[in-house]
């Protein structure tokens, strides 16, 4: 026991301390500054407004603001759309391209390209595709008799349009993880299942999927953290519009902090959103640990 503790201490001293020091040094000031701002009426553009301490007023404003809750709901809607589509498409495509056929390796490689592209550029490219009359997307859809769809210029479609851009970029991420996991699965259960004469779907449902679950959970978890902060692609595509159809949390914070220059409200909203995502992730971890414990038993 004491041997382990000793070893822990040595490892911590050499390996962990640098990271903690670096992260602490580089983030403590901005975080504290943001925290300080969140208790203040601080207009960066108008120094003539007294930058007074306002207590919890900024938090109260955020928590009672319709716009903030609208943004929160929009964020979760978008997350639900993108994560579910990425999961289904990612796994589906992975199953397809994991078959041992010539050319599949190349297909797997090419499909990784979207996730390497800068989110700003993803926004620009999709903006280019989405122009209702001049964009390529409606042109191609028109060829098969669909549309024209007012992608980013209608409140019904705009959130979907954002989601499509994000799905395009990040389905490859799920696909990549799933494909690799599929290759490492042991073949025996398949043989058994097949001998039993199960349908393909049953094999997938009862043999493959349970084995993939830990990988998928972990991939989705990484995606969820980023999806909660989604910003660049919306900044370029709609800036939260039309109306407030695509105004997510990050856009709300951006508008408060920059367009209205109410840095205090923006900072308060940031902390509220940090708390929300932290709580969700903690719950998620607890759930996972419980799941693992259950399986271990």
């Amino acid at each position: 026991m004491s041997h382990t503790a000793n070893r822990d201490r040595r490892i911590a001293a050499v390996f962990l301390i640098p990271a903690i020091v670096v992260l602490f040094a580089t983030t403590i000031y901005p975080m504290l500054y943001a925290l300080w701002l969140s208790f203040r009426n601080y207009d960066l553009a108008k120094p003539f407004i007294p930058r007074i301490f306002v207590g919890l007023a900024n938090y109260a404003e955020v928590l009672t603001s319709k716009a903030f809750f609208h943004a929160l709901i929009t964020t979760f809607k978008l997350m639900a759309m993108t994560l579910s589509a990425q999961l289904v498409l990612g796994v589906g495509i992975a199953l397809l391209v994991s078959q041992k056929l010539p050319g599949m390796a190349l297909a797997r490689t090419l499909l990784l390209i979207p996730m390497m592209i800068s989110p700003v550029i993803v926004g620009l490219v999709w903006l280019f595709l989405y122009f209702p009359e001049l964009g390529y997307l409606n042109y191609f859809l028109g060829l098969v008799g669909i549309g024209p769809v007012p992608w980013i210029s209608s409140t019904q479609w705009a959130l979907t349009a954002i989601a499509i851009g994000d799905i395009w970029q990040w389905t490859p991420f799920i696909m990549m993880g799933t494909a690799a996991a599929l290759q490492s699965l042991s073949p025996e259960p398949y043989e058994a299942a097949r001998i039993d004469g199960n349908s393909r779907w049953d094999v997938f449902r009862y043999v493959t999927l349970p084995q993939l679950k830990p990988v998928l959970v972990s991939l989705l978890f990484l995606r969820a953290i980023d999806a909660f902060k989604i910003y660049d692609i919306i900044f370029v595509l709609t800036k939260g519009g039309p109306a407030d159809a695509t105004e997510v949390i990050s856009l709300y914070i951006y508008r408060q902090s920059f367009t209205f220059w109410r840095m205090g409200v923006g900072a308060a909203a940031s902390f509220v959103s940090l708390i929300i995502i932290s709580v969700l992730i903690t719950l998620f971890f607890k759930q996972m640990q419980r799941g693992q414990a259950a399986r271990a038993r």
């Binding site: 553009a45 108008k46 003539f48 009359e133 210029s153 409140t155 370029v236 039309p242 367009t259 209205f260």
Partner: protein, 471 residues
């Protein structure tokens, strides 16, 4: 012989003078200036030739061209710090109030007065200077003038068949719209479906009456709404309280009018902004459209606008009014300013740069080289040769005789953003009435304004005449 001698003497004198000037004119040699700029014509025409300026003055100028989305953010952050990175700032005139009240911009009044002859202060259209003032002080210098004017398809308007059909339907002659009601008629009249005829030819795609901005991105919809609102007699502020007053009858009517134009717009109207909406005119796909003159300059350039390549003719007219009587033109300016926190020497050097970059000589050179710049000097706009080359010069010159500047309040961004969102919601049908939309937007603005004393609010809405123009 006598003549020859005289010439020699004169040449010698000139040489001597330039020599003296050489020594004297480079008091700022070695100064380096950085400009927080943008990639539009007010900057891109100057940027490639800053080397000429360095040769003449010894001042080195670096221009950083930033994206418009995010530029004002960066200017504000820059202005809030005590030691500037940038000495020169590019500003859009509605920001002048906010930057002025924050003390971010150097007062150019005394310099402009001192060098009035050199910069040809009288030659600049007064409203373009006024656009750059805050509480009477000149805080920026125009590099590109902006006028809200109407572009229309002259060739369609002059088509006899169309003209006759129009007269039959509406009972008056087809001509550039003098009133917004006529504008609506024209937009309605020219809205055609694929397969219908336009000027005798069968259309292979839909043709639109107009293309206005209904997008909230960068407040685009407010740029279209405000000129209409002003034409309907609406004002921004309550002259008694200094609060947002854009909830009155004229404001509501203007919003409703704007909504009534939707059927004559392209289907992507909620996404239309800036170049997306002017693109329809540039490709010859709509009949009439009002916009800032900074984009009008493209219409005569075949490299930028297809309409010029196709040989279609674009006509230019002042923006419509409500009763047909002249109304103050809606103006703006894209300008250069000096960071108030720069050192004195840098400020003087920056002023030398501004004088050079906005000089009549340089502006005329751009015009003659065929590059469109939305000009702001009377001598250039009234030049007959240039007027022939750029038919819109006449409209720019004439319409600014009676002009009233754009909104310039320190809370301009709050106005633009709140009205952008609420108007766009109303146009999208999410808010039931214009009244509700305007009230929501106004309340949001007022919630930020109401904490200030009335005197301060009144000072903010008061457009003090530019001191540089006082005789």
């Amino acid at each position: 012989m006598m003549q020859w001698k005289k010439t020699m003497w004169a040449a010698g004198a000139v040489l001597a003078m330039t020599g003296a000037a050489w020594a004297q004119d480079k008091p700022f040699a070695g100064v380096e200036l950085k400009m927080l700029g943008i990639g539009d014509t007010s900057v891109t025409r100057v940027a490639p030739i800053v080397g000429e300026f360095e040769q003449a003055t010894g001042i080195k100028v670096h221009i950083d061209q930033l994206p418009y989305p995010g530029l004002i953010d960066k200017i504000i952050v820059e202005a809030s710090s005590d030691s500037p990175t940038y000495q020169l700032l590019w500003v859009d005139s509605p920001w002048v109030g906010m930057l002025g009240e924050a003390g971010a911009l150097e007062d150019l009044t005394s310099r402009a007065k001192r060098d009035a002859a050199e910069i040809g202060l009288d030659d600049i259209i007064p409203i373009q200077l006024q656009e750059n003032t805050w509480q009477g002080k000149l805080l920026a210098f125009p590099a590109s003038g902006m006028v809200w004017s109407t572009n229309y398809r002259k060739d369609l308007f002059e088509n006899p068949e169309e003209a006759a059909a129009f007269k039959a339907k509406y009972g008056y002659d087809l001509a550039p719209a003098k009133t917004w009601a006529q504008y609506r008629d024209i937009a309605e009249f020219f809205t055609r479906k694929k397969g219908e005829k336009l000027a005798g030819e069968v259309l292979d795609k839909d043709f639109y009456g107009t293309a206005q901005a209904y997008s909230r991105v960068q407040g685009a919809i407010t740029h279209d709404y405000f000129p209409i609102m002003r034409a309907f007699g609406g004002d921004y502020w309550d002259p008694k309280t200094g609060l947002c007053a854009m909830t009155g009858e004229p404001h509501i009517k203007a919003a409703e009018f704007m909504k009534s134009l939707i059927p004559f717009n392209p289907p992507d109207y909620l996404g239309l902004m800036w170049d997306l909406r002017t693109g329809y005119m540039e490709r010859g796909e709509d009949a009439i459209s009002s916009y800032w003159s900074v984009r009008t300059v493209r219409l005569t350039n075949p490299a930028e606008a297809k309409v010029a390549e196709k040989g279609l003719v674009v006509g230019y007219a002042p923006s419509p009014t409500v009763d047909g009587n002249p109304q103050p033109t809606y103006t703006g300016a894209l300008s250069f300013a000096i960071n108030s926190k720069a050192t004195d020497k840098e400020k003087e050097a920056a002023w030398v740069f501004i004088k050079w970059a906005t000089s009549e000589k340089l502006m005329r050179r751009f015009a003659e080289e065929g590059q469109g710049v939305s000009q702001f000097r009377k001598s250039i706009l009234s030049d007959p040769a240039l007027q022939a080359k750029y038919p819109y010069y006449k409209v720019l010159l004439e319409s600014q005789k009676n002009a009233r500047r754009r909104i310039f309040h320190p809370f301009y961004q709050a106005v633009e953003e709140n009205f952008g969102v609420e108007l766009s919601k109303y146009m999208a049908g999410e808010t039931a009435t214009a009244k509700e939309a305007l009230e929501t937007a106004c309340n949001a603005v007022n919630s930020q304004l109401s904490i200030f004393p009335v005197e301060q609010r009144l000072r903010w809405i008061n457009d003090v005449p530019a001191e540089v123009l006082a005789k």
